[in-house]
């Protein structure tokens, strides 16, 4: 498998980069970025909220691709990717729940993982989880828009809304740094989780 022993050093580098990025993001978000005029310091939660929801979406995109990959190729590795990405995606949706978000999304990963937990036989678990992963991932845009419309009465929005349209440079830079840091953290956790999954299936090397 291409994701094997040689990449352990890469994983470590990824971990350090994520740590540095998170530190820089924290300093920027709490120290450097100015106080937003209309919302005050509460606005700073955006630097946590937006990157974590974007990372969660990335995780579920990976679940979708890996689920499709499993159904097409029937390779166990795809299932490992889907299951691991869902687990970490749930972690990040948990973060968005903590920073205040739509209730429909945080439940996402929980019940996907619940189905995985209820089936002992590996092949059947992989098959069902793949189908559920596809349904749930494609359902996310529907949930997103329906909850948005439901909260904003009749006015359908024209864009995915989380990022305000005119964002001053320093805000955008801080958000960008945090986003990159969160994505790095996600990649690090994903690599670790996949390795744990592989080891638990194959036995220790």
């Amino acid at each position: 498998m291409w994701f094997s022993t040689g990449s352990r050093r890469l994983t470590r580098v990824l971990g350090w980069l994520a740590a540095l990025g998170l530190l820089a993001g924290l300093v920027l978000a709490l120290g450097v970025a100015p106080r937003e005029v209309s919302q005050g310091d509460v606005q700073r939660i955006m630097y946590l909220h937006v990157p974590s929801i974007l990372t969660a979406y990335l995780a579920f995109a990976i679940v979708l691709v890996a689920s499709l990959g499993y159904l097409v190729s029937r390779r166990q590795a795809w299932d490992r990717w889907a299951g691991s990405a869902a687990e970490i995606g749930t972690l990040f949706t948990g973060l968005t729940l903590a920073s205040g978000s739509l209730w429909g999304k945080p439940t996402w990963g929980t019940w996907y993982l619940m189905l995985r937990g209820m089936i002992d036989e590996a092949e059947r678990r992989a098959q069902f989880a793949a189908v559920l992963g596809i349904v749930a991932a494609l359902n996310i845009p529907l949930v997103h828009f329906s909850v948005l419309w439901w909260r904003t009465l009749h006015q359908p929005p024209t864009l995915l809304r989380p990022v305000p349209a005119a964002l001053a440079g320093i805000f955008r830079f801080t958000l960008g740094v945090n986003w990159v840091a969160f994505t790095l953290l996600f990649a690090y956790l994903l690599a670790k989780r996949i390795r744990v999954g592989r080891l638990s299936e194959e036995g220790l090397p």
Binding site: L115, M118, Q127, V131, L142, W149
Partner: protein
């Protein structure tokens, strides 16, 4: 054509069994009746409050009774050891999905029609005026429920704690369907034109296309599991 015939044979078999035994239909009818009483008891006799909550109550009734019916989609095959017969049936497996879906859809629509009638009587609704719009919304919403429910029913048929797992899997997926149908039903019952909820109807249509496509494409995987 042969695909449609295969699907129809299965739906016909299920409906014949249902017609002779009336197991599901009878229970669901009384369940719907009980729900209406429960809603009334829970919300108190205040008519204003009841009519404000009406679209939501209506869809809660549809979803709860639908879940009970959908969860039993493969009960006959499972309890009578006919699961392998179903799997070994010749032709594309997705015909089985479409057949089961059609049977479920008809059963659910029958229960919903009764439910609506009771609702109309108990809550003094002008159903005739709202009927065309209501039929569209109920049709779209029921299809969305049944498309996911039929697929997940096959998935949970052989999983332990399936009675518990089935609603837990279906309900989160149905969030957009529930929101869309409740909003559209509200508009229809208030006499607003359907154009005012066109974005909800489009969302429901898109959801149905997505659910049906996934169901048809992945059903052989689910049935083999």
């Amino acid at each position: 054509m042969r695909f449609v015939r295969r699907a129809w044979i299965l739906a016909w078999k299920d409906l014949t069994i249902e017609w002779r035994a009336k197991e599901t239909l009878n229970s669901l009818f009384f369940f719907a009746l009980l729900l209406i009483f429960l809603f009334q008891f829970a919300l108190g006799p205040d008519r204003e409050r009841l009519s404000a909550a009406l679209p939501g109550l209506l869809w809660l009734g549809f979803i709860l009774s639908g879940l009970l019916g959908l969860g039993r989609t493969f009960a006959g095959e499972r309890d009578n050891d006919c699961w392998d017969g179903l799997r070994l049936a010749p032709g594309e497996k997705s015909a089985i999905y479409v057949g089961k879906l059609a049977g479920n859809l008809l059963l659910m629509l029958a229960v919903e029609a009764i439910f609506l009638l009771l609702f109309g009587v108990f809550f003094d609704l002008d159903l005739v005026a709202a009927l065309p719009g209501l039929a569209l919304v109920v049709g779209l919403g029921t299809l969305g429920l049944a498309a996911v429910g039929t697929l997940f029913a096959a998935m949970t048929a052989h999983v332990r704690a399936r009675e518990l797992l089935f609603p837990v899997l279906v309900l989160p997926v149905e969030v957009p369907v529930l929101l869309g149908t409740v909003k559209a039903t509200e508009a229809v019952l208030l006499g607003e034109p359907l154009g005012s909820v066109a974005h909800w109807l489009k969302l429901l249509a898109v959801a149905n296309v997505i659910y049906l496509t996934i169901g048809v494409l992945t059903f052989d995987v689910v049935l083999d599991g």
